[in-house]
């Protein structure tokens, strides 16, 4: 028989959450120094699934890197591949046909909705509610089916090409997407009644896990995390790219700074994405999906190129330094959750462990994207 642990008042102990723990949604380890139920100090430990995507970007030719980008964030992969192709197109000066850009915007937004839906389900499950995950996955399934029909894969897409797309959308895509929008709006209403209005959820999230504007700025947090803290920043509006200036949509911003604000931001963003998809389908021009003149070999001229895009998780930046060769000299990825996660260490000090896990869920971490 083991002797009972004798903890003296004021004594702390170390608790490891992860690397194999459902609450961390992946191989992330959080070292917590606990005083009873309260966190004294937290430290996130990374490196369990580092795959050297940046180095691969420097060792492979430009087209060969295409599949890598969707392996960063497997929930919202299209946003990342979009950033990559835009960066290389900017470097090489490739003109993209309008139809291709519209299809890109539509599919990226669909992917954003899918990503937020999965976050919604997983987040509510973190808080102890299982049913919403099932509803969310059912809705997400419609999106995955649509995307599978055009891209050929369900999660790790390799659909965009430098200059355009791998193939055009088929006849079924447009009616399916048009039917999806009202169905998704119904579902959002359902989620509002089922989850948002739920007293338990509100008690667990309101005024819990405050992230001040200041801490978001210091750590470089972007995306819904920053927008839940009153920072009105979205790359689609602030540094417009692709065909986003053509669309009429709003950026939801909440000033409460708590976990509930971040929850609300993402729920509202789904509606805004639906608006973009709706307008995109309406305006979708006819025409080619690949430019007529496209360099056979992708060899950007010597220079330093940067492109930022708004993915489901925030500002994703990609920097390509070219020495004129077939491979990039430097291939730097700035991933949003890397910054979003690091504020967790500071923000969770003095919190109850259950509240801290709710805060972590509201950050929407995807570990392969942090540890790329």
């Amino acid at each position: 028989m083991s002797a009972p642990i004798d903890i003296q008042p004021g004594e702390t102990f170390t608790l490891n959450v992860g690397p194999q723990h459902p609450a961390t949604h992946g191989v992330l380890r959080v070292k917590l120094e606990m005083d009873g139920e309260y966190i004294v100090h937290a430290e996130t430990v990374l490196g369990y699934i580092h795959r050297m995507h940046e180095l691969m970007g420097e060792n492979r030719t430009y087209p060969q890197v295409l599949p890598n980008l969707s392996r960063l964030d497997y929930l919202g992969a299209l946003g990342y591949t979009h950033g990559h192709v835009l960066a290389v197109e900017r470097a090489c000066g490739i003109e993209v046909p309008e139809r291709a850009e519209y299809i890109r915007a539509i599919t990226v937004e669909l992917n954003r909705v899918a990503s937020h839906l999965f976050w919604f389900g997983a987040f509510v499950m973190d808080l102890g509610g299982f049913t919403p995950l099932m509803y969310a996955i059912q809705d997400r399934e419609y999106i995955l089916d649509m995307l599978e029909r055009v891209t050929g894969s369900r999660l790790t897409y390799c659909y965009y090409r430098f200059g355009g797309l791998y193939n055009d959308i088929d006849d079924e895509f447009i009616p399916a997407a048009k039917a999806f929008i009202p169905r998704m709006r119904e579902s959002l209403k359902k989620y509002d009644a089922l989850v948002t209005g739920n007293i338990i959820l509100q008690k667990r999230l309101k005024d819990i896990g405050p992230l001040s504007k200041d801490i978001c700025k210091r750590y470089g947090a972007t995306g819904p995390v920053a927008r839940g803290s009153g920072i009105d920043y979205d790359v689609r509006k602030n540094e417009p790219y692709s065909v986003y200036p053509e669309f009429d949509f709003d950026i939801p911003v909440y000033h409460e700074c708590d976990s509930f604000a971040r929850y609300k931001v993402r729920m509202d963003e789904m509606e805004q994405s639906l608006r973009i998809i709706e307008q995109g389908l309406e305006k979708l021009p006819d025409g080619p999906i690949m430019p007529k003149k496209k360099p056979k070999l992708i060899k950007p001229p010597v220079g330093d190129y940067y492109q930022a895009v708004e993915t489901a998780r925030g500002n994703f930046g990609i920097r390509i330094v070219s020495d004129g060769g077939k491979n990039a000299y430097r291939f730097k990825l700035r991933s949003p959750t890397y910054s979003n996660m690091h504020l967790f260490d500071e923000a969770c000090e003095g919190m109850l462990i259950m509240d801290a896990l709710a805060l972590m869920g509201s950050l929407d971490l995807v570990i392969p994207e942090i540890d790329r």
Binding site: P63, V65, L66, G152, Y166, G197, N198
Partner: protein, 156 residues
């Protein structure tokens, strides 16, 4: 005091609304399939592992040019060829010419990322994605596909 009770009331009400929604969902049709008994048809563009495309006479279209091998980011393709002589009639004369014939086309599916670079780089339309997805095994070797062998099996 009044606020206290009204919060309890609103809380209970929100739970009842939630229960109502799950109760209604209970009677909605089932959307899942019971997998091994039922399967779903893969869409037209579904990307399974690659496979060789054949001519009408059953021989592979592939001319062993090696473009796909070079384009593959993960070095998943290895192929070999031999050159054979064959005779053609050009303007009444019989001439012997040489051509490359594929003798081996191996795909290491454990490293393939289904990116499509090989399919895109082939100028002869000689490879395409299959619709296979029932691929489970505990042995790594089961994913080293001999595509030429598979092509023969398909034809027999």
């Amino acid at each position: 005091m009044g606020a206290y009770f009204s919060e309890i009331f609103r809380g209970l009400q929100s739970l009842a609304i939630g229960m109502g929604i799950t109760f209604r969902e209970f009677f909605k049709p089932v959307v899942t399939v019971s997998y091994p008994m039922e399967t779903i048809k893969m869409s037209e563009r579904y990307r399974g592992h690659t496979e060789l495309v054949e001519n009408e006479d059953g021989t592979p279209k592939c001319v062993a040019c090696g473009m796909c091998q070079r384009a593959c980011p993960s070095k998943s393709i290895s192929l070999a060829s031999k050159s054979v002589e064959y005779e053609v009639e050009v303007k009444g004369e019989i001439k012997t010419k040489k051509k490359k014939v594929l003798t081996k086309y191996n795909l290491n599916f454990t490293t393939c990322s289904l990116c499509g670079q090989c399919v895109e780089s082939c100028n002869f339309g000689a490879i395409d994605f299959s619709k296979d997805y029932n691929l489970a095994s505990s042995r790594k070797e089961d994913f080293h596909f001999d595509l030429l062998e598979r092509l023969k099996e398909r034809n027999s």
